[in-house]
Symmetry: C2
């Protein structure tokens, strides 16, 4: 079964159809984020989105098609946010700090976790055929950090010794793991610590502060 | 409802009763690790453990009581493993490296994730009253790393500048997040990168290599 099977592509819908589909998706994403995938049912979704059972079935004929569309919807938002001007393509330590500060200060994240990561964790062991779509979303997310770190290297802001792929995996792992620990502990401390330590590690590669840098010798 | 409500304490059981309870728990933990909480039902568990419905109900009268006992069972094993001689109380960088190498080489972990973290992620949004028990397990886990790092400081192996709590949160977050990303990506690379980067960061505090250390001035 292909990852996109069962999803009715928005481009084939009328403007009104697209708006209805979007409203269903938004409500589904919210219900799933708050209550989890397994506690979210069609009846709740119908009421939240204000649609009939046949409308729901028209846009999302199966649970898998709905979950795939929610993953796509969540991934698009997370990736767009990370690509926004606010984070300047993550080409500086300040941008990384801005990012960490945002999530550490975003209270709902400590209650419900990462919008995409918490969903992934909930469904990764199920029979739903969502693996490729999740892998693609997380690959793109990691690439945003890696590209930023590579740019920092090109600009001479961090040394050539830094491994952008490894650091990108550290940043994204610290984020996902910190989110889980903060959810469990019900406060921001684990996330704050993990992100700050990861960024402090990136800073050890900063050329101006690098004690081994030829510039300072 | 208290965290222990519904669990029949092993100490009140006969030897045979304890063995039956342990067998059920072991099979429940395995089914949940492989298939997830929501796809595991009483019928599968009965067959896997070779017990009757009334036996299952005797030891675990509710799903919540079973899940709480599985968390306790998983936590006990994870914590015991981390406290084993193999890791020498995590009082050296070699011990941290041994730990990372073990999990990076443990193939099942990249398929199914962390035995405790994947379970926590699956149930953290449900109505099950398991929050305190999960928080306690992760607190103990983090303390193992923190105590090891504090001991490293006392032994002069890492500098006084290191923050053991922050580093412990980084190590545990990198582990949990790396596990999730490796599950999604279906290979060990994200976990390997995240753990290695976290350990390399701890190493930047190593006194003999610390360029700011008074010993080298």
């Amino acid at each position: 079964m292909k990852a996109s099977a069962g999803i009715r592509e928005p481009r084939k819908l009328t403007g009104k159809g697209q708006a209805t589909r979007e409203r269903i998706l938004e409500q589904a994403a919210e219900l799933i984020y708050t209550k989890g995938v397994h506690a979210t049912n069609n009846e709740q979704l119908r009421r939240a989105a204000g649609v009939s059972g046949s409308q729901l079935n028209h846009y999302f004929p199966t649970k898998e098609s709905l979950i795939l569309a929610v993953i796509e919807w969540r991934a698009e938002r997370v990736l767009s946010f990370h690509r926004s001007e606010r984070f300047a393509s993550f080409d500086s330590l300040d941008a990384l700090q801005e990012w960490a500060d945002f999530y550490v200060g975003f209270e709902r994240a400590h209650q419900e976790g990462c919008t995409l990561g918490s969903l992934a964790s909930e469904i990764i062991k199920t029979d739903l055929d969502v693996h490729d779509q999740l892998a693609d979303a997380f690959d793109q997310w990691r690439d945003i950090f890696r590209n930023g770190l590579q740019r920092m290297q090109e600009l001479g802001r961090i040394s050539a010794d830094a491994d952008p792929t490894r650091l990108a995996n550290l940043l994204l792992s610290a984020f996902q793991g910190g989110m889980l620990l903060s959810q469990v502990q019900r406060n921001a401390a684990p996330l704050r610590d993990a992100l700050q330590a990861a960024i402090d590690y990136v800073q050890t590669f900063e050329t101006a502060l690098d004690c081994a840098s030829p510039r300072l010798q």
